[in-house]
Amino acid sequence: MSDKGNTPGGIPENMPHHLSERLDENLTLIKHLFAFPDNTALIIRNLRVPALDAEAAIVFLEGAAEPKLIESTILEPLLAKPSLPYQQPDKLEAVLREIVTSPSGKKLVELQVLPGELLKGNTIFLLEGEAGALTLETPGFQSRSVTEPQVEHVLKGPKEAFIESAAVNRSLIRKQLKERQLVSETISIGQRSAKDISLLYIKDLADPELVTEMKKRLKAINADTIANLSILEQYIEDRPYSLIPSALLTERPDRACSFLMEGHIVLIMDNSPTAMVVPVTFWALFHTPEDQYLRWAYGNFIRVVRILAVFVALLTPSIYISVSTFHEEMIPTDLLLAIGATRERVPFPALIEVLVMEIAFELVREAAVRIPSIIGPTIGIVGALILGQAAVEANLVSPILVIIVALTGISSFTIPEISFNFAVRILRFIMLFAASFMGFFGISLVMTCVITYMVSFKSFGVPFLSPLSPHYRSSKDLIVRPPVWKQWLRPFNIRSQDSQRKNKPEGGD
């Protein structure tokens, strides 16, 4: 938490609130704020402005501001301009309007906003005899160039992904969405080191109540600093302990845009190679952009495959356990005898067998993520299967379990969204215990509770399984989707203001 003596801008309270008229006093203050001379990043260049016949100084932070830009847009004009009678009576205004060539800049008089400006990469121009300063935009942060998405791959469709620069990300969205009403609001949060968060929404589509609610939650955050959107998500979500996420992070600008067009809000922040979408529904977590890019039949085919995968990933181990320890009559006699024959030599109960294999699989999975990428290929997900084969040879587990665990693992990889993926993987273990305790009785009871929880869960006031349940009118883009030209309704559950995407097509409905 912030120190007691600090104001929100990070200025000690005993310091003056306004800049003074004397240059050296101002510089001392700035030096003090930035721990100069220990901090060599603070660069102060004194100069004499011939045009105004006055001492001046420019201040910037190394690494935050771009020196070349300062030279060409600030230093050169300041030093080169002759002393003419300027039209602006105020000297700083004269510098801003008639001398420097930076694309944007403004005058400020309060001391407490000054450090923030420097930290953003702006250059501060101070003039002797003026109780104020100019802040001129000279950003010089390094960021990588736009690349292909790392997580949300598609075979067909745009291949740009968000990067760690908010400006670039906003530009990526603007590029796709030529929309007059696309609003980009900036909200500053964090007490010690404030961060700007861009709130993007389409003014005449998004529900104003939702926008107000979002702003309210952002402002209510009580934190020193918010590193990026992943942290922010955890501050504003509805139920922190829930397995179900309340927000969606996407690295695809096209996805963000399609959500914007449905009336969702998109949050963008520096240092986050993603955009955050709120509110989310089950369908947002389950769909991928590919579903829409592929033709109707193909898109629906992969949807069906994926919904099947969700159930396989969630239920296969528990169904195996309950069938083999409670409902033997379900297994065809031949298979039953085959399982029985191999089980006879395995010392552990079926539950332990499944747990051993499932945990081994999760270990391999976690290892594959954490391992440095140079030695990564040596340990593939194949590792788990080899491990399984060896376990079978050693009579630790029965062969059918390798199939079950592999099937479960593969299925869980098809779930596109990371949060949802985790939810399914954790829920699988709960199901497993329920199944081993009471068979299908346990699975059914837990499943009912899960369904009930899911229908009662709300993300920013929007029911998680809407528009399916509770039912709202929508384009029926749920488990399967209609052809693109029939999706003429915006989902009503997001409460967008303009419910139709276009006029009802002929034959559409």
């Binding site: 029985g340 024959a341 191999t342 109960p349 305790f437």
Partner: protein, 415 residues
């Protein structure tokens, strides 16, 4: 938070320790695949269990070399369920009927009064299924089970599963399950059950291949079990047998039949030394009309059939000559009708009841249950005037047009 953790831990412990009520690992159970019922002294029933051994013939990984494919044990007990309990004194695993699909009952036990009580009380056990098949064996059931060592199937359940499919195709035996047994306990209908044996009685060579009863079929080598004909049950007790051919007729005369086509041979009308083999297929449901107003009810049965001629050993050119076809059709119809009439007469005299499920048609003529029960269909059936009409059309003569005669003969005829 702390409370939550404690509750969670407790729940985990409960889950891991508590699951021992109905939970039983697969390998701790002995799956009975065939059950045999015999008469035992003192009003007991002798129950034979054939337990499948999973380690033989199922998986290479877990195969055990020196074990038999199944274990057969017999116990005498008051009923099946107590036998199931006693069996555990010998068999190390818990006896389970979850995969029981076949019950073999000896003819002697099926004819006794006890049978209905034993089978009727066992159905209370949720593990006993109404879909279980019934086989009546000529000899003791334990003997039947022990001697049944199929050559092609290592595991016993596979034998019965495959056999069942074939039975359905050939129609030599009825489709008999416990459910059907319970449905046809009433006095108004007969229940037919599969009849089989592992013993050979007198071997007779019949001209028509389906006039056999199990054990009578001339056979050399092969599996010891013969399944042919059916056991007839009246009011839950076995009262007689009928041959394979009669079983086929009985199934044909039912309104809907499960087996739809039978291959059988008929006398060749133009060359009495030979037989004609034909596949007879039911061409829609049998139509049954009744007039129950008279004391002797009048039953009109129309049996629509189509026939596919499969072989003509006499080489008569039926395929090309419509007049000869007509003769053949008439001859097949007549021979079928003669058999049917004879069988119906036999049933009417012997059993005073019918296996054709015509009682269901008779039920339609009554408005209330009471009126139907008062009518007593069984008694009326034995007096009924039954007229069977066969409507047959010959559909095809196979892929050969003429007989494969040598060319010279044809020239001789021409000349």
């Amino acid at each position: 938070m702390k409370k939550g953790i404690i509750a969670f831990l407790l729940a985990c412990v409960a889950l891991l320790l508590g699951g021992c009520w109905d939970k039983l690992e697969l390998e701790e159970q002995a799956f009975v695949v065939v059950l045999g019922l015999d008469k035992a002294p003192d009003g007991l029933v002798s129950v034979t269990f054939q337990v499948a051994n999973p380690q033989v013939g199922s998986s290479d990984k877990g195969a055990a070399q020196n074990e038999p494919p199944s274990d057969i044990v017999t116990f005498a007990a008051p009923d099946i369920l107590s036998a199931k309990e006693i069996a555990n004194s010998v068999i190390t695993r818990k006896i389970s009927f979850a995969h029981l699909r076949t019950i073999v009952i000896s003819q002697a036990f099926a004819s006794s009064k006890l049978f209905n009580h034993v089978i009727g009380s066992s159905i209370r056990d949720p593990e006993m299924r109404r879909e279980t098949n019934l086989i009546i064996s000529r000899e003791r059931a334990s003997e039947f089970i022990t001697r049944n060592k199929p050559r092609l199937e290592t595991r016993p359940h596979k034998y019965y599963a495959f056999m069942q499919e074939r039975w359905r195709d050939t129609g030599y035996v009825p489709f008999s399950t416990l459910n059907r047994y319970f449905q046809r306990l009433g006095r108004d209908t007969l229940f037919l059950s599969i009849y089989g044996t592992t013993k050979r009685v007198k071997t007779k060579y019949a001209r028509e291949e389906d006039q056999y009863l199990a054990g009578e079929i001339p056979q050399q080598n092969g599996d010891p079990v013969q399944i042919m004909g059916s056991a007839v049950f009246k009011s839950g007790r076995m009262v007689g047998t009928i041959t394979g051919e009669e079983t086929r007729i009985a199934l044909f005369l039912r309104r809907k039949s499960m087996a739809h086509s039978y291959i059988s041979s008929y006398p060749d009308p133009l060359n009495p030394d030979y037989q004609v083999t034909a596949r007879v297929i039911k061409d829609g449901n049998t139509r049954i009309k009744m007039d129950l107003s008279r004391e002797r009810p009048d039953v009109q049965v129309t049996l629509p059939l189509r026939a596919q001629i499969l072989s003509i050993p006499s080489f008569t050119d039926y395929a090309e000559d419509p007049r000869k076809q007509e003769k053949l059709r008439k001859s097949i119809e007549d021979s079928l009708k003669a058999k049917i009439d004879a069988f119906i007469a036999k049933i009417q005299q012997t059993y005073e009841c019918e296996p054709f499920l015509w009682h269901l048609v008779a039920r339609k003529h009554f408005w209330t249950l009471k009126a139907y029960q008062a009518y007593d269909w069984g008694a009326h059936f034995s007096k009924a005037k039954i007229n069977v009409t066969i409507r047959m059309r010959i559909e095809s003569f196979g892929k050969q047009i003429g007989p494969p005669l040598p060319l010279e003969i044809e020239e001789d005829q021409a000349g």
